[in-house]
């Protein structure tokens, strides 16, 4: 075999080299993320179908209006914005870790991976608080199924005029659907964040142990980085679908 592999700009599908110019591991990570994108979008689109089907729907500015340690205050969307910032920043620290890896800068990789892990854990803690808070208001999977409940039980979730005009059946059905989707989708996303944090810890241990230094490159940081950015990407869509639209 000759050294023609390093020649510049041969035909993409001329043979003898990958037309993608990407390693097997990175291609497979991309294709896994592509399939995961379809899983998440199946969830989000069925949420959209159900919402289009419903006569009334909970209002995000009412459902998500609390902030830890500031009970009683009406702060719509503030807490979830904080969560979004935490996740965006942890994505930034991850891309800085990947960048440090390109320069074979072991200390840089360790530093930025640590910040990424802290960001991921902070996000999960915020989500745990939000779930607990909603649960205290009666929300969970399969909640609000009793159509004979007084309208008071829905007062945290709807605009007052919508609440007054809706029938008990509409309130029960839409609130039940809303929270089934909310806990399933944010839960599925949270499971991705959790496994991302675990992957980050694993590659941090490998980096500290010098595994990648001996290998001569930090491609594993890039692959886990792709996964981590994808988790951030999904949150961008979850944020839009649940909190904005």
């Amino acid at each position: 075999m000759s050294h023609t592999t390093t020649a510049t700009a041969p035909k993409a599908f001329g043979g003898g080299r990958s037309p993608f110019n990407v390693s097997y591991g990175k291609i497979m990570m991309w294709f896994f993320l592509l399939s995961d994108a379809f899983t998440f979008s199946a969830f989000l689109i069925s949420y959209g179908t159900t919402r289009f089907f419903s006569a009334v729907w909970p209002d995000a500015n009412h459902v998500f209006s609390s902030f830890p340690f500031m009970e009683g205050g009406d702060k719509p969307l503030m807490f979830v914005s904080l969560m979004t910032f935490i996740l965006i920043l942890s994505s930034v620290t991850m891309v800085l870790a990947v960048h440090a890896g390109h320069g074979n800068d072991k200390q840089g990789v360790v530093k930025w991976l640590l910040w990424t892990i802290i960001g991921g854990i902070a996000f999960l803690s915020c989500q745990a608080w939000e779930w607990t808070h909603l649960n205290h208001q009666g929300a969970w999977w399969a909640s609000f199924q009793d159509i004979h409940s007084a309208k008071d039980v829905y007062s945290h979730f709807f605009k007052p005029d919508v609440l007054a005009a809706a029938t008990p059946e509409q309130l029960s059905q839409s609130t039940n659907n809303f929270f089934n989707f909310f806990f399933t989708i944010t839960g599925f996303h949270g499971a991705h964040v959790t496994s991302g944090v675990i992957f980050n810890i694993l590659i941090l241990v490998n980096t500290v142990n010098g595994t990648y230094e001996k290998r001569g490159h930090y491609e594993m940081v890039e692959k886990v980085g792709l996964y981590w950015h994808f988790v951030d990407l999904v949150w961008v869509f979850v944020f839009t679908c649940f909190y904005l639209l």
Binding site: M1, H3, T6, A12, R17, S18, P19, F20, N21, V22, S23, Y24, G25, W30, L34, F38, S41, I45, G48, T49, T50, R51, F52, F53, A55, P76, L77, S81, T84, F85, I88, S91, V92, M94, V95, L96, V98, H99, A100, H102, G103, N104, D105, G108, T167, Q170, G216, H217, E222, G225, L226, H229, F230, D232, L233, F237, F239, T240, L244, L245
Partner: protein
Amino acid sequence: MSHSPNNDNIQHLYEGDQSKLYSGVLAHHHDPKSAESKAQVAKIWKITLILSIITIAEVIGGLYLSAYLSKIIINSIFLILTILKSAYIVSVFMHLGDEVKWFRFCVLIPLTLFIWFIIAFLYDGSEWKMFNDTNPARFDYHQTK
């Protein structure tokens, strides 16, 4: 195998660590103190700033815009901003913008399925709502009391 990470003689890698072959590792390596490296870090922070500004704009829009604009216009703005944010994340943070053309196509072309996926299922939802609103058998559901 002992070799320097910047060794351009990749012959021996066919038997060993395959990830070095096409990962661009050989081309990517740079000095962290070089001007090029610093320019990349500056770009990352610039994108961070853009993503933050878009998110703040979305939250402000979610809180106050509904008093001034119709729902369909607000939602269109949100969707455009969301796609803009995701394009920045995929192209810069995930470095898809730096990959070769054929690889970009392989990732992006399957996403066109979403055009059918979203339209078909949202249409289905609104069709069922119309059925509920107009079918006499479902009339009680909407007209209690």
